[in-house]
């Protein structure tokens, strides 16, 4: 039965892929990300029991004080895409707001190219220098759990021992999603990652205005391992070994 369902899923994916690949398939997906309050309440309560550091507890609580959703956008065209977070009005002195933006992806740019299998992240903030590094592939576990999101039949997939949960729809055969997530047989409409949840709020397919996906420009191009080494060095100077 499970095998039969998987065949149906693959059939939907490939048949819609054929329809969409015959034209210049493009789109703009608007997401809003929210704090996963249920998870945060649990984590905060656990942390409060474990530590007596008042400064730490105060900072953590402060970091969740910003309640408004954070807007982000995935644009795609011809099997290429880019995901960015709207961060023009961010107040650096507001920890809640700046952390909410960081959790959603911050100032990073996530680039997707499923044709050439090139997935990149551009990051300019951590060390005050721009780096472009490979966004490594992470293995998803597909499940048969379904729900409707914005009218689209969506399937549940998980990775990292169930810590990351994505709901994707094979009806829109673009294997991209928020915050650099990719590799599923359909667009991610909902994503539970870390302490936040992304929800697609507006889906515009083949908009009148042409969507142009530009390659990432500028920044030092490094491999994922090299970037990790650079970050580890920076981490050691602050966090020790």
């Amino acid at each position: 039965m499970i095998l039969f369902k998987k065949h149906i899923l693959l059939f939907i994916y490939f048949s819609t892929s054929i329809v969409f690949s015959q034209q210049n398939f493009s789109g703009i997906i608007n997401y809003k990300s929210y704090t996963n309050t249920e998870k945060i309440d649990k984590l905060l309560s656990e942390k409060s029991k474990k530590t007596k550091n008042k400064k730490l507890l105060s900072l953590i609580k402060q970091s969740f004080e910003f309640k408004k959703p954070i807007n982000s956008k995935l644009e795609f065209s011809n099997n290429k895409g880019i995901f960015t977070v709207e961060n023009k009005m961010i107040r650096d002195d507001d920890l809640g707001q700046s952390m909410a933006v960081l959790r959603a992806g911050g100032s990073k740019k996530y680039y997707y190219n499923s044709l050439d299998k090139v997935y990149l992240i551009k990051e300019c903030e951590a060390l005050g220098e721009c780096f472009v590094f490979d966004n490594t592939f992470l293995k998803w576990n597909l499940t048969q759990e379904i729900k409707k999101i914005n009218g689209y039949l969506s399937y549940k997939a998980t990775r990292d021992k169930g810590k990351v949960i994505a709901w994707y729809t094979p009806s829109i055969p673009i294997g991209f999603g928020p915050k650099g997530e990719y590799g599923l047989p359909g667009l991610i409409l909902e994503l539970e990652i870390g302490k936040i949840i992304f929800r697609a709020t507006k889906i515009i397919l083949n908009p009148k205005e042409k969507v142009v996906i530009e390659e990432l420009k500028g920044g030092k191009r490094v491999s994922f391992e090299e970037y990790k080494r650079i970050m580890n060095k920076a981490k050691k100077s602050v966090f020790g070994n």
């Binding site: 400064k55 951590a126 870390g194 602050v238």
Partner: protein, 71 residues
């Protein structure tokens, strides 16, 4: 006599400054340790694609906020 009096004043002034600096370091040091722990808690269990970049950025934000609001 005058010169000696002037020297004493300088010593008192210098001692006061040393005490103030020492207090500042205490708060900043508390902020460093709270921000370290906060940043680790922030990204600790997430399936992070950013290879540690988010940890460094979380630390920077926590530390900035700590110094601004608690020191």
């Amino acid at each position: 006599m005058n010169a000696s009096s002037s020297n004493n004043e300088e010593i008192i002034s210098s001692t006061t400054e040393t005490v103030e600096v020492s207090e500042d370091f205490g708060c900043a040091s508390d902020c460093v340790s709270a921000s370290k722990e906060g940043a680790l808690w922030e990204v600790g269990e997430d399936g992070d694609r950013s290879a540690g970049g988010e940890l460094v950025q979380a630390f920077q934000r926590y530390y900035g906020a700590c110094m601004a609001t608690q020191c």
